[in-house]
């Protein structure tokens, strides 16, 4: 089940990751790799532990009391649990987008600058430049260029999600984690985000969780299928996206596909 990705650089990888809440094991034996310039998809039934897994990659899991993570996660070859590593720097390097867009109750411009301004000193000109370039990157610039000083909460949900993406990109992450980023969005905003992902993956490695099978088939490069096996979330299958979807072998995954397409 372990496949190596030759001639590509591994950006993020996990080795035998195991997650427990108090005495209950939620995830075990998770080993996966994310290469540069690709979208790794994570798919599987609800409650299998996809969100939990994602939160291990930027150590956001540590904010959940009682959660214990064992095993190894490496970013660019070095452990993210290394004692000398600053977890806040790590989180800037591994950006995250949530299911519901979370904009801060300040104006659009301030939202984009929120994390970036903290990492490096920016002159007024550099700020303007950053705001414009990031909003352009997420295809939001034309829609909001005249109202950068307006509260971000006034944007539509789809626009808010793109703003959140711009805010995350502004801190220049190497990896982007996305937990069902389009499940709260309408079809148009969804395809906007999907286009962005395809366009962005050359610059950032992306780990994407989704329940949307069409989306998964279209934009995953490789996929890791996380399902419950004996009550514990595990990777039951992984590989090239097309191969996995066209010839699913794990029974849990077949069940999931059957239910998902039957819906």
């Amino acid at each position: 089940m372990f496949e190596n990705i030759p001639c590509k650089n591994i950006v993020l990888e996990t080795l035998n990751l195991e997650v427990q809440v108090r005495e209950r094991t939620i995830l075990q034996n998770i080993s996966l790799q994310v290469a540069s310039g690709e979208i790794l998809g994570i798919i599987g039934p609800s409650g299998a532990g996809k969100s939990t897994l994602l939160r291990c990659f930027n150590r956001l899991s540590e904010l959940t009391p009682g959660l214990r993570v064992r095993g190894e996660v490496r970013l660019m070859g070095s452990s993210i649990y290394a004692p000398e590593l600053d977890v806040n720097v790590l989180r800037a390097r591994v950006g995250m987008l949530f299911q519901e867009p979370v904009v801060f109750p300040v104006d659009i411009r301030e939202n984009v600058l929120f994390g970036a301004r903290r990492l490096r000193k920016l002159s007024k000109g550099e700020q303007d430049e950053l705001v414009e370039s990031k909003l352009r990157e997420v295809a939001l610039w034309e829609e909001v260029r005249d109202r950068l000083k307006q509260p971000a909460a006034k944007l539509s949900v789809g626009q808010q999600q793109r703003l959140c993406l711009a805010r995350t990109l502004a801190v220049r992450p190497e990896v982007l984690l996305m937990d069902e980023p389009t499940s709260a969005l309408d079809p148009r905003s969804t395809s906007a985000i999907e286009e962005l992902l395809l366009e962005m993956k050359s610059r950032h490695s992306i780990v994407l969780v989704t329940h949307n099978l069409r989306q998964a088939r279209q934009i995953f490069d490789r996929v890791a299928v996380v399902c419950l096996r004996n009550g514990v979330g595990q990777i039951v299958e992984q590989g090239e996206s097309a191969a996995v979807f066209n010839a699913p072998s794990a029974p849990e995954f077949r069940d999931y596909l059957g239910q998902a397409s039957g819906m």
Binding site: R91, F104, P105, F114, G115, R118
Partner: protein, 288 residues
Amino acid sequence: MTRVLSWLLSALAIGAFGFLLCVFLFQSGPVWQSEGTRYITGVSWFYRQDVFGALSLIYGSLAVTAVALLLAGPLGLGAAVFLSEYLPQKARLVLKIPLELLAGIPSVVFGLLGIALLRDWVYRTFAKFDPLSGDTLLTAGILLAVMILPTMVSLCDDALRSVSGAQRQAARALGLTRAETIWNIVLPQASRGIASAFLLSVGRALGETVAVFLVIGRQDNNLPHPWYSPAPLLEAGQTLTTKLGGAETNIAFGDPLHWAAIMGLGVLLLVLTAGATCLGTLGRRRHA
């Protein structure tokens, strides 16, 4: 249905308050006629000479409240931040129980504690300023601070907790530290609730009577010169409530003008406390 009901109840509450205020205003009529605005701006109160200037009482109330807020505000907010942002949920819930218990202690108990512990401490600590005794505005302010602290912590904690966890998580996911998240995300969003905690505490401090009564020395006509001088804080003073709670109130009842002056203090007190409480409640309501 509930909207109509809540509107009705609000109207009822405002009506009751308005009625109360009218009674007080009516009864205090003679003093407004005889003193005019001097009733509020006048610096001396000598009821035997029919001189009624409430300024030193207003000053006493505001000074004591200011001291209490200056001490309990930062301390209460700090404790609330610790409680809400640093302690695990369980510890937080456990700690909230004694807080609510503390808030329920009768104020006369605090007054007795003030006499037993605080008075001498103030006297000794500020000995080099040569206070006449430990019964001072400062003593009353410190005691009030202790009294409003539990409520302050509890209300500020509620305000901080009302900020959604998703906001905190999004900030942390951008690489902000916990302290930066508190400073940039949590506190700004809780500011309305925190402001209303302060205002409700002001209302409580302005209205508190017995505890203050026991440690303030009840000295009329104590005003600072110049107005910003802190010197009177280490002298005995009088607040609107301690004046009203004292023996003079009973003496006054026989004399229409004197009684009007006393009821006038009631008007001032009602307006001040109701103002603070209303603003505080409005802030809380809109915040929630």
